[in-house]
Amino acid sequence: MNDLIIGMAGSGGDGIVSAGESLISALAREGYYAILTKSFGSQIRGGESSCRLRVATAPVLNPGGTLSVAVVLNWEDFLKFGGELPVGPDTVVIYEKKTGVAPADIPLKIKPSVVMAVPMSEMAMKAAKTLQAKNNVVIGLLAGWFGFGRQAILEGIRRKFGKKGEDVLAGNEQAFAAGFEYAEQNPIGTDKRMSPPAGSGGKRIVTDGNEVCAQAALFAGCKFFGGYPITPATEIMQHLQKDIWKHGGSLLQAEDEIAGIAAAVGATYAGKKSMTATSGPGFSLKAEVLGLASVSELPLVVVNVQRGGPSTGIPTKPEQADLFAAAFSAHGDTVRPILAPISVEDMYGVTVEAFNISEEFQTPVVVLSDQEIAQRKDIIDPVDTSKFKLVDRLAPTAQELEPYVRFRFTESGISPISHPGMKGGSYLAAGIEHNESGAPTSSGEMHARMNEKRLHKMDALKNRRDLFVIEGDADAPLGLIAWGSIAGVALEAVRAARAQGLKVKVLIPKLVYPVVEEVYQDFFASVQHGLVVEQSHQGQLHRIIRMWTNVPRKFTALARSGANPITPADVLAQITQISQTLAASPALVPTA
């Protein structure tokens, strides 16, 4: 096998998530790729917890659907995760024997062919004299049955427990060995062993979208961060507060979300690249100051790590339902670019791009990440930063400072920008409408010209076709559109469909807004049927695309509320169904 999906659930103390983390680190060293997602009950400590680990020999696009392996420490907790840990007929089910359930009576609707009741607690007690070693028994079982990571896992155990004394280390090593031997002595019959990785892990890293975002911001030259703790965006601030000082920058944990963005606006006005990060509720609070950044034409990066909404919603689960808010929450006629990363790795390039666009066009840029990209762990290759060019805001020349006219009308709409400290560059920045020199005005004529300037300057963005991923058959009558973390799901489904001989293509906008009409029109040229695949009840991207472009009549949305995973199999099923419809109505299929 070259693709394995493991799902594990237990109660807080079972160390299930820690097992997932140990495994992904070991797999990275071995040379595999993987994605680890975690899911918890609403308790702050304890309660049920679970994780999914998808391991593959090639880069993994999404956390996948039906489990290849289900590890159940107790049934009650496992069942609470429902659709997040789906079991199919081919799933190998491994469960704690102590639960007292006979293999024939396990509480699943589907009867999997391989069901193993393993005395995990008993083995942990015997090996390490503590139930805390249970997760290493589980890791041993997985390593034994699925054939990966033995050496790397043992190294990991030594690293993790080496400092805690010889007894603890030996106990955990023995727990792992007990699981491994159990697996060897009780072969599961089907050949589920993972193929070896193509090469060694080298410098591959295990990271998540929030960490990548922080690193990319520093690379892009971010010198100030203002923010307020909010799930699932907080880790961006946590990472930055360690490192931003080393780059000569500073960070403010503000008294509230508004002060966070306000301080960031102050810093960018003072000439420094700056940033704030939040999630839906905080984004709503920041809306007014976002408008200030637009009208005073200040570069600023605002990350919104989307979670279930509205209001508190489901803070720990992903959703793609802040697109309307990101596009439309500022009052007045403004356009601010919205970028969305499609994977943990992609968060790097998208964050750098957000800084570049904000600097070039002197505008706030919103990065719409989501809880999954922000908090899942991916194994990624080290980012090759040499491919990025960094952009700085246009500074006035000596000539342009005599006298300096901050909002001068130019062909591009972009005017050179000074900052406090620059001699000759003094000007009045304001939320109030202003003339070219920055003086307040209530003239309708000037307002119209300034609106035109501020909107027109974004036109050049529409040439950025590199911010769109298009894959598949260029002349396909069936097209998909997907964005954010769901893009990886759509991409996998399209590849699977094409492998089956179906004609299909997918468009993934990383520049989600403004809607670049030409890109969609070109894409739609061959398309009769299709879908926007997105995790929002209303299908917000589908609706926004329709506001600006003529979509094919049978172009609909596979739109689902957040916290309800969309799997590659779900999308593939839709592709297959639409393909059948298309085949049944040949008149609609282009003949050429």
């Binding site: 080393k246 000439g271 406090p420 304001a430």
Partner: protein, 293 residues
């Protein structure tokens, strides 16, 4: 003051050139009503800045929204007339991004103690080296005469036709209670006194606050105008008040709304290190060694 040259291109911050009040006056004509107290405030500010001697381009002047918040545009400093209530956090971002700048913040009583009231305690406890000037006229002037957080109880305004039924905020006590290191009050009709406290506030190394009771000629109480104020004014220096005595300052501040004390209520005799100082210290300590070489 620091001698580091930031990448802003600022020269070392030392008052070497001589400036006059005129150097800080912009060509923009104020929109204030004739007789507005804010004309006096801006004049006093020009004079104070001339004695401070920092060039206008090294000054960032931030305000919120309201009549008084128009003030940055009437100076030659870098001005930022922002949104209602957010001048303080924006100013802190500026100072953090470039501690070499002289950062001034101004606004009205509504901006500072109503919509932006939540930022004041944090600006004080954080203690960046900023000066916050509130032009306190006890009314919302720009929106034509509504209740403000400092409107006295019983006052009839366009949103309290039967008289206000709430207690006003006491700006002086508010900032003293949160530990503000420099607290003063002034009136524009006492130009010399006002100029002096503005200058002292700017020179104070840390967050400083000046409440200027700046009368609104259009919507203000006829009993709260320049002449009345001047007659009512009691100079704290004449009373022999020791500005190092914080408890006495709080006692005197309690009479806000009845007595009109002017001058310095409190000046911390041992100013603690500022937040900007700690920023530099941390940046210095964590700067990669090879970059320093």
């Amino acid at each position: 003051m620091s001698s580091t040259t930031a990448d802003c291109g600022c020269p070392p911050a030392a008052p070497v050139e001589t400036y006059t009040a005129k150097d800080f006056r912009s060509t923009l004509k104020p929109i204030w009503c004739p007789g507005c107290g804010d004309y006096g405030v801006v004049t006093g500010l020009y004079r104070a800045l001339a004695s401070i001697g920092r060039p206008p381009h090294e000054i960032a002047f931030v305000s919120g929204i309201g009549c008084s918040s128009r003030i940055p545009g009437y100076t030659t400093a870098y001005g930022f007339n922002t949104v209602h209530g957010r001048a303080l956090p924006i100013a802190q971002g500026i100072k953090m991004a470039n501690p070499d700048l002289l950062v001034l913040v101004a606004g009205g009583d509504g901006d500072g103690f109503s919509i932006g009231g939540g930022h004041v305690p944090h600006a004080i406890r954080r203690n960046l080296d900023l000066t916050y000037i509130v032009m306190d006229n006890h009314i919302y002037g720009l929106t034509k005469g509504q209740l403000s957080p400092t409107t006295p109880r019983g006052a009839k305004t366009s949103t309290s036709s039967y008289g206000s039924i709430e207690e006003p905020v006491n700006p002086l006590l508010y900032v003293l209670a949160y530990g503000c290191g420099f607290v003063a009050q002034a009136i524009p009709s006492d130009m010399d006194g006002m100029t002096k406290v503005i200058e002292e506030a700017i020179r104070y190394p840390g967050f400083s606050f000046v409440n200027i009771q700046s009368p609104c000629v259009t919507f203000g109480d006829p009993e709260d105008q320049a002449k009345v104020q001047k007659a009512k004014m009691k100079k704290l220096s004449d009373l022999g008040h020791d500005p190092a005595n914080r408890l006495r300052a709080m006692e005197l501040a309690q009479t806000y709304g009845t007595d009109l004390y002017t001058g310095v209520f409190y000046r911390n005799p041992n100013p603690p290190q500022t937040y900007d100082h700690y920023i530099r210290e941390r940046q210095e300590a964590l700067r990669p060694k090879q970059a320093a070489a």
